[in-house]
Each structure stands twice: as C-alpha cells, then as structure tokens.
C-alpha cells in the first residue's frame, strides 16, 4: 500500500436506527472507518450485519424510516450526515461518490435505452451538450467492454445479458469520474465466470481512473481477490479490520475464525463442514457484551457482560475481542484455517483440485 495514505472519507461513531412499527432497531452501532485514497476496502459480513446500511450513510440513501442518530461522515470538509435534501447531495451523490448495486436488472430502467440512461447522468453532472454527452457515453461503454458500443447505444436493457447490464451500471457509476465507488455485492447476482470478468473490470478501471473502492460482499473469495484492507462486520459493528493478508492469515476475532472455517473450499469430503450454531442477534434488543458471544464456543464470561474495545494487533490490524486482553486465556485459531495459505496453495498448484493450466 502507499505510504502517504490520505484519508478520503472518514466515518466516526456512526449509529443508525430504523423505526419499525413502534420499535427502534439499531442497525449500526458506533462504527468508525477511514478510507484511504486509491485503496480497495472490503466490508464482509452476513446478511443483516449492517454492511449495506453502513455504506448507505455515505450517499444519504437510507430508507425513509432510518436515521443516523449519532456520528459523522467527513468528506472534503463536509459532514455528510448533516445533508438533508436532494439538493444538498447534488454534486456528491452520483458525482463524487457512486454506487453499484447487486442486481443490474433492478438498477436499470427497463423501458429506456441504455444510451439515454448513461447520458442522463453525464448531462446532470456536467454542463455539456447532448452530442458531447453521447460521445462520452459511448467512450464509457467501450471502456467497460461493450463490443460495438455505438450500435448498442440505442438498445434496451432486456437486449443485454446480465453481465453486460452490470457493465452498463458500472459505466453509469463511473461516467462522472467519482472519487469513491461503492460496490454493493456487485457480482452476487451473476455467474461465476461473469463475476470474474466484472471483478477484473472494476480493478482495471480503478488502476486507470484512480478512484477509491469500497466493496461490500459476503464472499470471502471475492474479498481475497479485490481487497487491500478488510473490515468484518457482525451485529451492526465492525469487529475486526486489517490488511487482507492479516485478516486471512492472522485473524483474531472468533467470528472471523468461524467465517473462514465454514468455507466449502476448505471442506474435507466425508467430514462435516464447520458451521456457526445459532442465529445472529436481534437488533431490536440492546446487545450486551460481545454480540457474537452467544454463538461463540470460546466465549469468556466477560463477553456476556461488557463490550470489548478494539485491541491493537499491529499498526493496521485491530480486533474487537476480549481474547486479545492480556488477562484472557491464550486461544489458537481453529485447525481448519491453520496454514491457510499452504492449504490453498496445494489446491491451486499442479495436481490440486483448483489448479488449471
């Protein structure tokens, strides 16, 4: 990673609440995160862990029953949590911070041409003529790998395949040269072979255009591929973060252990796969102690009583678990994820199950 490390966006102590009927649900509980310019940060977590909700605070796209009840998101000297109206957001959302969503079919308008949907964004954010906008749109389509872009400009989304549609969504998101691109499960709805292409496309474009990427995914394989740094979310909090190597090869939080251990890639035939018992905590209730404690076989007494602070593992690696307290018993990560790199290397080297020529 680069040494200069300019923070481009900084979220501090974010808390998000949703009003559901007469109750309040706390979806995000005091999450702080700094993104560095040009890096790829991946947030990984299961459904309901709050990963999407958290990043929606960067673009003011929380559902109407949700509010940011605490904290700030600083971006170029502006606190994004203070912006209220669409007018406030103009010039930031879609222009400086763009989002790619999971399902390209729902993020494109089915009854308008591909071309008009791209030029719309360009015209909105840049003061240029229609012809110039069209020119830019075709260039962008070309860049995201649409063959014969000029001729496909006037086609409709249904004439595109799923992968092509996602390329268009990327083209739209990048058409105003944003500084931050949020990718919310961009490949989950796509086939694996298409997924590989889209991931590569985003990476190539990032190199070329130099934006910062925030990936949201539940797939650790994708994380390993794209991320410089990783944050693991559980129960509305980031519970561990570090460089991608630290998270995969030296994880410290029992939840990160569990997540890695349950990967089918590591499964041995004829033996049970590791799995996490129980269910994630209900966010309607106040969570006492470590949110993962009830499902954690290694849980200490204190895990049920007091919320752990972040403990420092290295300058870049922090984990929110009492296991790192000097008084805690020394615990080793589970056997399955010991020597992870050696194991995976065996699988992908010659003769291994995932080796290809």
């Amino acid at each position: 990673m680069d040494e200069t490390k300019n923070v481009i966006i900084s979220a501090k102590d974010i808390e998000v609440k949703f009003r559901v009927r007469d109750k309040y649900l706390t979806a995000i509980r005091n999450v702080s995160l700094d993104l560095y310019e040009g890096e790829t940060f991946a947030i990984v977590g299961e459904s309901g862990s709050g990963k999407s909700v958290f990043t929606k605070t960067f673009t003011g796209m929380l559902e109407s029953n949700g509010t940011i009840s605490n904290g700030s998101v600083m971006f170029h000297g502006t606190d994004l949590t203070k912006l209220r109206t669409d007018k406030d957001w103009e010039g930031i959302r879609g222009a400086k911070i763009s989002t790619i969503f999971q399902d390209p079919m729902t993020s494109l308008n089915p009854i308008r041409t591909i071309g008009s949907q791209i030029t719309e964004v360009i015209e909105k954010h840049q003061k240029i003529s229609k012809a110039e906008a069209k020119q830019q749109a075709i260039e962008m389509m070309d860049r995201v790998g649409i063959p014969d872009a000029a001729n496909r400009f006037d086609e409709y989304p249904f004439q595109y395949s799923g992968g092509m549609r996602q390329r268009i969504v990327i083209a739209i998101a990048l058409s105003c040269h944003p500084e931050i691109l949020i990718c919310d499960e961009p490949t989950t709805a796509l086939d694996v072979t298409i997924q590989a292409q889209i991931i590569k496309l985003i990476r190539d474009l990032q190199k070329e255009l130099g934006f910062t990427t925030l990936y949201i995914t539940h797939d650790l394989g994708v994380v390993a591929n794209v991320a410089d740094r990783v944050g693991v979310m559980y129960g509305g909090q980031i519970i561990e973060y570090g460089t991608v190597e630290e998270i995969f090869f030296d994880p410290r939080h029992p939840y990160t252990w569990a997540l890695l251990s349950s990967l089918p890639q590591l499964g041995v035939k004829g033996e049970d796969l590791f799995y996490i018992t129980g269910t994630p905590p209900s966010l309607f209730n106040e969570i006492k102690g470590d949110a993962f404690a009830p499902r954690n076989e290694h849980a200490l007494n204190i895990d049920f009583q007091e919320e752990p602070p972040f403990f420092k593992v290295s300058d870049t690696h922090y984990a929110k678990t009492w296991l790192l307290d000097p008084r805690a018993p020394k615990l080793e990560k589970p056997e399955v994820i010991h020597d992870l790199h050696e194991k995976i290397k065996l699988m992908t080297d010659k003769g291994g199950a995932f080796h290809v020529d």
Partner: protein, 320 residues
Amino acid sequence: MSTEDREVILSIKHVDVTFETGHKKKLRAVKDANFDIYKGETFALVGESGSGKTTLGRAIMRINPCSAGEILFEGKRISGKISREEDRNVVRNIQMIFQDPAASLNERATIEYCVSEGLYNFHLYKDENERIEKVDRALESVGLLPEHKSRYPHEFSGGQRQRVGIARAMIMDPKFIVADEPISALDVSIRAQVLNLMNKLKAERNLTYLFIAHDLSVVRFIADRIAVIHLGEIVEIAESETLFKYPMHPYTVSLLSAVPMPDPIVEKTRHHIVYDPSKLEQTDEQRELREVRPGHFVFCTNNEFTRYREKMDRMEQEIG
C-alpha cells in the same frame, strides 16, 4: 471406482427439453442429455444460468415435459404419459428441495401444515396422532423442535426455513431428491449447516441426490459425481475428484478457474480463463460424450477425443 455393478436409480435417456418461444420458434433448453444416476450417490449438475440445469431437474420432476428421449426411475419410464397409480408413486419417491425457502413455503400456513401437506395429499397417516408424530419426526431429523410447528415461515431464519423445506421433502420418505440450488440463497455459515444436514440425511436414509448448483467449490464438497452443463449440452461427466484433478473440456477449465479462493496471495495471482467456443474444432461432425477414461466422459469430436486422451496421458504423468 467401477460403476458397472452399481444399481441405477434414475436413467436419463437422450432427453431433449424444448420450449416454444414464439411463433414457430423453439428453444432447445436441454440437448440430448444422456446419463445414469446410481443409487445412494450425490450427482451434481453444474452450470451457469441459462445452461438448462434447472430445466433438466424439472423434467425429472415432470414439470417440464421431455420433447425427446425418456427418463426411467427404477427401470420404469416416468416421462410422458403414465398411469395415475405410477404417477402417485413417482411423486412420493422423487421430492424436490428449492433454492429460496422464503418463496417456496406458503407464508400464510403454519410449519405444521407446510410439512404435512404431502401427507394430506396422499393420506399417508392413519389418524391425527400418527400425522403429528410424523411431522415431529421430520422436524427432528432436520434439527428443528416440535414446538416450531405452530409458527409461520417468516418467524424463522433463512437456514431454518431451508430446514423446513427439507423436512417437507423428507416426510414423504422419498428415494430420490432433486435439490435445486438449495444453498445459494443462504449465508456462508448457514450453508455449511444445510450441507452437513443433507449429507447426514443421505447417510441415514440411503438417499440419492441430484444436486443442481452453479458453484463448483460447494459441489466438490458434496458430490460423488459431477456433470457440467453448458447451453443445454452436458460437456463433461466424471467422478468429483477426477473432474477437479483432470478437467478436460475447456468450459470445465474455465469454470474451475473462476472459483474464487479464500487466499489473497493466491487469488491475486490467479487468472481467469475465459471459455471461447470458437477455439474448439470447427466441424460439422456431431459431438458426443466419449469416455476418455473409465467413467470420465467428455463431449467432443473424434479429433478432440484424441487430443483429450493425449492431454490426459500427459497430466497423469505429471501429477501421478
């Protein structure tokens, strides 16, 4: 492993499934599928969206009619017109597990009703007590509690709902299960639970699975044999370990290279091989499934067959 002496439970014989897609337009979603599934094995059908894997699964369930060929279950034809009695027999013995448990359960019915539905339809119980006992046993076998009976599907988590879906199939005491992407809609940690459960039930009841999936990493863990399907054509069939060790067809290779590995060092240096059908031999010769090694079939022409065999020889020497 020799396969000749194993008992065939389901036989797909040159099956085509065709859809009308407009006036005089037809789409052959499954083209000449031809393979056997042995009793007690997990046979995986792997392909991308639009490959016809679900269509073939549905043809076995007799939801999609076959436009050519036939399907035999325990030696008896089950495709096309069959007698009412046999129809009931097939419905009982072949059950399905669906992808999205939230969509496949009646949200306005209790779990008790959802699970007993098959029993009601087939009057598979003497009295209320026996029915309830059967429901309890089915729920227990998937790790749910009898007290869950009175609840509604929305009160459960995704993994629990999928367990209900499995209980619903298990209560019929089937011999054969078509599981159509049973874990794709689930979170990583829940996936492992459901896979373990399926393996456990298979061992306890000597079930046979047709496991339809798009994810090779999952399939490697659960399947005994794998068929790879691409645009309606089965391009390769082999024992699970063999397919991973000696992938022959370029499409299989491409699929394998696209499986993301949970290791940043490895993953960042891997490259994805894009499948390019134009690199196959361009010929009018009909491709067919040919046996490269016993039990390992690849869809190819005669020339390609020779090449695959050479490749196999080479790989066997290198890997051993």
